[in-house]
Amino acid sequence: MGIKVGIPSALLYFYYYPLWEKFLQGLGVEIVLSGPTSRPIFARGVRLANDETCLPVKVFFGHVATLQQLEVDYIFLPRIVSMERQTYLCPKLLGFPEVVTALIPDLPPVLTADFNLRKDKRELDYTLQAVGRQLGFTLKQIAPAIAAAKLAQLRFEHLMQAGQDFTLALKGRGVESSAPESGLTIAVLGHAYMLYDGFSSLDLQSKLNKLGVKVVTPERVPPSLIDQQLAELPKKIFWSHSKRILGAGYAFGVDPGVHGLIHLSCFGCGPDSMVGDMVERMCRRYAKPFMMLTLDEHTGEAGLVTRLEAYVDMLTRRAELESNVSAHG
């Protein structure tokens, strides 16, 4: 039996899993995932996490504790400081390898490394090499795994840009046929670990789909368009994920094919509080309907459903009115 590495299906999993997966598989390592967030995982997380943190971090604790029970040789807890030039991740995420090991006793050995690409893209190779060496592999064995991993990550990002469903894109499955677009399109902004975690987001996307709405997310927007949208800002946004959310928000805001924007935020998220407000101001300028939804561990479904229904009702009535106006004008 080879080495078994446990990966929490939470937080940065939603951004970088294809990279990690292909890299570890390329080394012949077996990956054990904690699986989709469920009630028991969530309950474990809330019990273990420090109380002042945000919902996604609490959920993450639950995933780590779940892996603890699955007999793995290592738990992969990378510290991702920066994945692109001149940006950082949120401090809560930077600190989590230490916070998690301090708060969850008797964890299996932690496999970690600092991913810091703020100054130099080549750091990615060096960091992955460090991870591979911790597992006892040679540079010669590691090099092809790195190349394959980078390709897989790139493919995943392209698939997301093409509008593929998150779970399918994660598997590298290509977009088969694009369904004819009709009805309302709503852009849902937020962190990937909220948007694509059905449990944490209270199935927001499928709820909207059931209301007959097509959903687009920040991962649809190519990085070049995001940079272009943010070029006018007096200051650079230095949180990488918030940069994507804001740039995508601006792009969707001016896109006539997007009927409204929803910002799905989690209670206690510092960057969200600013980014959300900036998107809202932009929406007001372009008279685009905007709704902010804040989720926390106690959030009830009923309140969410009411808001979504009312929002979709509003967009439908507006769309009808606008098409009437243009028919007469």
Binding site: S38, R39, P40, I41, G198, F199, D203, K210, L211, G212, F267, E280, R284, P289, T294, D296, H298, A302, G303, V305, T306, R307, E309, A310, Y311, D313, M314, R317, R318, L321
Partner: protein, 326 residues
């Protein structure tokens, strides 16, 4: 026989029923306390309705228990509170551009332009500044909630009370009492604090333009009404049926839903005698352990909800759900 439309709004604090005639006039409006037992409140309300020779030809439900009410009554339309309130206000005050709604546990603002909702917001995580808090404070000061507004209007110099959080507001009020301020000044101060809080939180960034309609149970409070007028510098209209606007909106939507000659799904007024029961169980099908709620009439299961995967759905509940998305 006269055609009547029944609108039912089952909220956390109150359950309201409206009987509306074919011309949109309110025949009867009932405001009942839900008291945590929505099923009983609906049945009690139905029993109190006087049809007077009319016939119920359409039923609409709204409020946080709208699906429950729809399953029990057999509703033709199930709509969220925002839409229902906007529909009712537009009917009562044509040309309305802003709706301020403060209910028992939630508060909302709805902005309309050209008769269509263009923006809305609801209070977020906290219930500070809603009816329940006023109720609680009136109880603590030993005054009837009905007299609250009148007393506040007699204030000479309203005191300043922190309205951001109901816990702070309460300690602030106690402090002002101990300093010897008069009751009317304290009550008026509380009204102003609530309005400030509402406009800062719920009304943040909203384009408030007249005509402004104030509705929901709290609109009965003249002190709050005056505080809104002062803060906005606009006249505030409180419609006749301010406390049952959600139910009225549902009745209007019900009339719309059956306008094409459809027969109502209404189970009939004898629903009151039926033995409805809500039971719940935990589904052990997967790790999510969803709590399933099941509404039954005698032996028959009318509706189930609470499951994330949809495997517990029954036919009636799907019809209610499709009504919600219409």
């Amino acid at each position: 026989m006269n055609k009547l439309y029944l609108g039912v709004d089952v909220g956390s604090v109150s359950t309201n029923l409206v009987l509306m005639d074919d011309f949109g006039a309110v025949n009867q409006g009932l405001y009942l306390r839900t008291q945590g037992r929505p099923l009983e409140a609906i049945q009690k309300g139905l029993a109190q309705l006087k049809l007077g020779g009319g016939e119920i030809s359409g039923v609409g439900t709204t409020g946080s228990a709208r699906n429950l009410a729809a399953a029990v009554l057999g509703a033709d339309v199930v709509k969220n509170e925002i839409t229902a309130h906007a529909v009712a206000a537009s009917a009562q005050v044509p040309g309305v551009q802003t709706i301020l709604e403060i209910g028992g546990q939630d508060s909302k603002i709805i902005i309309l332009r050209d008769g269509v909702v263009s923006d809305f917001a609801m209070n977020t995580v906290c219930a500070a500044g809603t009816g329940s808090f006023l109720d609680q404070q009136a109880g603590r000061l030993n005054i009837a909630i009905e007299d609250f507004g009148e007393i506040a209007l007699t204030a000479q110099m309203p005191v300043r009370i922190a309205g951001r959080c109901s816990v702070f507001a309460e300690s602030d009020m106690i402090h002002k009492q101990q300093l010897g301020h008069h009751m009317p000044d304290i009550l008026a101060g509380l009204c102003e604090a609530m309005v400030r809080n509402y406009l800062n939180n719920v009304g943040k960034g909203k384009d408030i333009q007249g005509p402004v309609v104030f509705q929901g149970g709290v609109a009965a409070n003249k002190g709050i009404r005056k505080a809104f007028e002062q803060a906005l510098g606009l006249p505030i209209i409180v419609p006749d049926n301010f406390s049952v606007m959600g139910a009225l909106g549902s009745a209007i939507l019900a009339r719309e839903a059956v306008s094409s000659g459809k027969t109502s799904k209404f189970r009939g007024v004898n629903v009151t005698s039926g033995n409805f029961a809500a039971t719940s169980f935990e589904c052990s099908g997967c790790a999510n352990l969803c709590e399933i709620v099941q509404i039954g009439l005698e032996e028959k299961v009318l509706a189930r909800w609470g499951d994330r995967c949809g495997k517990w759905g029954v036919e009636q509940s799907t019809s209610a759900a499709s009504g919600a998305s219409a």
